[in-house]
Each structure stands twice: as structure tokens, then as C-alpha cells.
């Protein structure tokens, strides 16, 4: 079988997803910055699954490098999954624009730059899948993380447009909206147990949903309903709530 390209491969969700795809017989390109840190993990998947796993260096903020990054992949991947994200510091981002910009660029601009290149190739080939990990935080802006939320909202809109554009070329685009996931990003936060997924659960959900060509995936599933309720609260009321 052929390669799946995983972007932001050092993320806990990405690692679980990489294992999931390798388990199902896919070879992998794992792209991350300081990718040498992934050496032991690359070996882990190889020992577990006997698949070919190739680490590739990628900084999502280095836009100029994206074309050559994609060109250097010998065999082009059948699909790409991006787990890149940066939660950042909301308070800091409110007063320090460089933090706000880093949040927007890491979650949105950088991904757009790379996905544009990949989407063109897949469109020409008339095959492939593109999975972007956005967030429920993009469904409605909240005071506790609206800079991050707005970047994810932009990514969600981008992915839905891309899905629309590539429909005729039979390239499938899936938007993943995790709720809480126990990863490095959320380490130290007190998360409600029932609503918090382990990275492995998210990975399984992504694999299954992608295989079924789902458009939007909420994970855990109950986040779909949680967000329906949150989105249904009228703005005049919402603005007064502390969440």
C-alpha cells in the first residue's frame, strides 16, 4: 500500500493517528519540525507494523519551503492529515500581537500554504484525501480562547471551501473537530473526564471516518450535540456567559 503524509507528526494526536494508519497497512511520511526527535517513534511503528516510515523536516511557518518540501517526496502520498496547532496564550495574544499572529499562522496561514500545494496535485491526479484537524473552539468564539478559536474557525471555513472545490475531482476533504483531548496541549488543565478523549480514540475515529468519506467529524461524538447547544444560545445571552 502507499503513503499517508502526516503533518505535525510530533503531536500526540498525530502519533496515535500514525500508528492507526500503519496498523491498517499504510506506509507513512511523518513531517515535523526538529524531526530527528521522532527517531524512536519511527522505529516504534516499524517494529509494531513492519511498515515503511519516513521522517521529513517541515516548519509550517516557513512558507517558502512548502513547495520544495512537497516536491522532495518521491512517491506522492495518497492522503494527507494535518495535526498542526498552537493553543498559545490568550491573555498574551490580546496585548501582544506577535503572539496572536503566531497563533493565527500556526493554526491557519501555514496550513493553507501547504494544503494549497497538495490540493493542486491531488486535483490533477483526481484522487486523494485531505484531513485537517480544526477544533470545536472554532464553532463559537469564547473569551477564554477566541484568538485560537478564530484561527480554527478560519481553518474550518477553508476546509469546507476546499471540500466544495475538490468534490468534482473526487478528492475528499474531512474536517476534524476534537473537543477535549488529553495531550501535551492540554497537560495540566483540569478537563471533564466524560468529555475528554484519549489521543488513541481520536485516531480511531479519524481513521474510520476518513475511510467512510465523512465530511465533518466531531470527536468524541457527543461534542456534536454539545456544540449544537452552544451554537443555539442567542448572542445576547451568550455574551454574558462566562465560558
Amino acid at each position: 500500500m502507499s503513503y499517508v503524509l502526516i503533518i505535525g507528526a510530533k503531536s500526540d494526536i498525530a502519533k496515535a493517528t500514525a500508528r492507526e494508519y500503519a496498523k491498517h497497512g499504510y506506509d507513512l511520511y511523518l513531517a515535523a519540525r526538529n524531526v530527528s526527535e521522532l527517531e524512536e517513534f519511527v522505529n516504534d511503528i516499524t517494529v509494531r507494523t513492519q511498515r515503511t516510515v519516513k521522517p521529513v523536516e517541515l516548519d509550517i511557518l516557513n512558507y517558502e519551503s512548502h513547495q520544495s518540501f512537497y516536491d522532495q517526496l518521491g512517491e506522492k502520498p495518497l492522503g494527507v492529515i494535518s495535526a498542526i496547532g498552537y493553543l498559545g496564550d490568550q491573555d498574551k495574544a490580546q496585548s501582544d500581537f506577535s503572539e496572536a499572529k503566531l497563533i493565527m499562522d500556526s493554526n491557519y496561514t501555514g496550513v493553507v500554504s501547504l494544503f494549497n500545494i497538495i490540493a493542486d496535485d491531488f486535483e490533477k491526479r483526481r484522487s486523494g484525501f485531505i484531513v485537517g484537524i480544526s477544533s470545536v473552539a472554532g464553532d463559537r468564539g469564547r473569551k477564554s480562547n477566541y484568538i485560537y478559536g478564530s484561527a480554527k474557525a478560519a481553518l474550518t471555513a477553508y476546509l469546507s471551501g476546499l471540500r466544495n472545490r475538490l468534490y468534482d475531482s473526487r478528492v475528499h476533504v474531512m474536517t476534524v473537530k476534537p473537543g477535549f483531548v488529553a495531550t501535551k496541549m492540554t497537560e495540566g488543565m483540569e478537563l471533564p473526564k466524560k468529555l475528554t478523549a484519549q489521543p488513541e480514540e481520536v485516531a480511531e475515529d479519524i481513521y474510520k471516518a476518513q475511510q467512510k468519506n465523512k465530511n465533518v467529524l466531531y470527536t468524541k461524538w457527543m461534542w456534536h450535540w454539545v456544540m449544537l447547544i452552544i451554537k443555539a444560545i442567542p448572542e445576547w445571552k451568550f455574551k454574558g456567559i462566562s465560558i
Binding site: K23, E40, F41, N43, V47, R48
Partner: protein, 432 residues
Amino acid sequence: MSLMSWGMYPKIKSSVFSYDNEKVLKQIIEEHDELIPYGNGRSYGDSALGANIVNVKPHDYFIDFNEKSGLLHVQAGVLLSEILESFVPRGWFLKVTPGTKFITVGGAIASDVHGKNHHVEGCFSECVKEFTIMTTDGEVVTCSKEAPPELFRATCGGMGLTGVILDAKIYLKKINSKYIDQTTIKTNNLKETFAAFEEYKALPYSVAWIDCLAKSDEIGKCLLMAGDFKDDGKLDYKKKGKLSIPFNFPSFALNNWSVRAFNWLYYGKVKERVSKQKVDIDTFFYPLDAIGHWNRIYGKNGFTQYQFILPKYASYQGLEEILKAISDSGKGSFLAVLKLYGKANENYLSFPIEGYSLALDFKIEKGLFELLDRLDEIVVQYKGRIYLTKDVRVSKETFEKGYPQIEIFRQYRKENKMDTKFQSLQSKRVGI
């Protein structure tokens, strides 16, 4: 952080320490006392609980596998279930596995776990070529049965009290099927049960489910399941979806009558004295893993497992007495598992000795600990011992009487300054 293990009792507040690399772990060990490694929390009692917990499970990398020898090198946080997922399809299985696959390799070594084949293959430590462990001063030691032998004997079965196991090399065994030919033998009393164990001793895997509520001359009646792997080349083993108990049952759900009904259903379903089945790995080895969080059926107060072993010569009499005491108490045990064990190994605190062991689950409720204290007396009287990895309440005296090598273990810990560095609630309770 609030923590508990499989019995959901006790629930305690602990500080949890995670580490990215050995340097960080070394620092944690240097700066804190009363540390205890935590694997996947499938021990029933308080052996993985304490003031300061070292979280090993995230360290779950596979490092190497040798197709020729079957030697697998993994980090200590790898779950047995992950090993099965990768290696059963390639024709390999664990040499020794307990009744759940959701335990870490570190936890398997620390409890020196055993399976249905103890009478043939012994404990988990038999398949361990070597492991590395970070001990008191943050030093990383590579340890095998040969060198240093004391550390090996103290660590296998040592309940995390010698340091943090980092990785291990373990031998897998070749199989050529994911199916097991199972023979089920239905017996009417303890005498028949013992005879059945002896009769089927040649089969590598065997275990019996006992009806604990049986009275008078039916005491000890059971379903004995014995078997071995088939040889049909079918190895397409996959992870199964599972049911889950979503919340704690109200604690009255598991009263005497529901246990009675369960035992009766289980036992009553089997009609012939001897019957044959073809079952897969998960059904045979891990029947309870099919239902996630089954521990919640005991309600929010939690439960405990009482597992003891008696030397062979005293097993019959001792078991009869204990089963009678349980039956008289009317306290239901959902699960009662009886097993014949082979010879003991040299590890200081490994549980198995040659004889019969019984494991029973009890809901935590008023009067339970009094009953278990009475059972302890019978166990001690017949020179038996209690399994630490299941225990949450045994007294120092009962524990010490069962483990004659305890002084060697204590001395070893003291000499190597492990006694203050590594401590669990359990080690404090039983004074080790």
C-alpha cells in the same frame, strides 16, 4: 490528582510525576521520597497508590523484535494488548499472560504475574531476558536473572518497590492459530474438581470457575476450562470493539440473588460433563476484557479481590473450609476462580507456590473486612499466602507469615536505600 486502581477503592489524592526522558526521571527520584510507579492501574488494591506517583504508561515504544528468537524489546509502558495486536497476526503470543491484556509490561514484571499455564511456564519473569530499571540514586541498571540476581529477585514480584522499570526484553512464543481447542468439564463438588485438574494437567492452560454459593455436599462444584492452541494457520487477530459499563451501578444491584442467578446461569448452561469448544484468544484468555469498566458493576464504593494460595498438601481441606465460610456468610462473589499452580520460583515476593489458588471478588461493604480477616486465619493456618497485587487490606502479620523471604527483601531494600525512596500505601501497611 485523584487516583484509584481497578477496585476503585481506595480513591486517593496523589501528585503525579511524568517524565520525558531519563534525565527528568532521575531528577524526580533525587528530589522526592515515597515514590511509586504506576502502570495501567489494573492492580485491584493499593500497590500502585501512594503520595507520589510515577506515570510510566506513556512510555510505550516498541524498540526491537528478533524474528528468529522471538525476543521483543519494549518500553515498560507498553500494554500486553498492543503486543498481541502487532504479533498474533505474525504468529507470536505471550509466554505468560494474566486474565486481562490491559496491563503494562512494567506492571507484569512488578507483580510477576502468572496465567492459566503457571503449572507449565511459571511466572512472567520466566520470559524476561533482561530489563533496565532506575533505582534509588537515579542510576540505570540493566538486570537479568544472572546479574545482579538480587535485584532481579527483588524486582520481579517486588511491587514497584525497587525502582522504575524502564524497558524490558521478553521472549514471545510461536503460535499457529488465534483459536484454542477448549474442553469444559463440569464437576459436582470439590473432590471432582481436584480430580479434574489432575486429569487435565497435561494441557498447558487450565482454570476453573467455582460456584461460591453452593452449599453442603455441592461445595466446590465448578466448570473447569482447559485447552491449547489449534494449529490451523488462522492468525487474523484484530482488536474488537467492546461494550462498556458507562457508570457505577447502584450498589444494591449486586446482591446475593443476582450473584446466585449469575452463577446458576453460567453453570446451568453447560449440560454435558465434558464438552468441547473452539474459542478465540480473547474469549479464552480475556473474557472480562470484553466489557470495559466492568468494575463499575460493584457500585461506587468499589470492590476488592481476595486471592490466596495454599500448598498442595493442604489445599483440599483448606479450600473446603474457606468455601464453607463464604457460603455461610452469604456474601456473594461474582467471580471465583480456582487454579492449580506449579513450583514456586526464587523471587522474594512472587505469589505462586505449588498448590491451589482461589480468587474471589467482593463488593466493599460493611462486614466484608471481618469476613476476610476470618478467611486470613484459615489461610495462615494452612500455610498459605495472599496475592499483593489484588490486596487492599491484609494485615502485616498475615502477610509476613505467608512470605518467608520477606526479611531478605526488607534487608535488600534497606541496604540500597530503596525503603524510603519507593513506598506505596500497601508497602507501608504491610511494612515492606
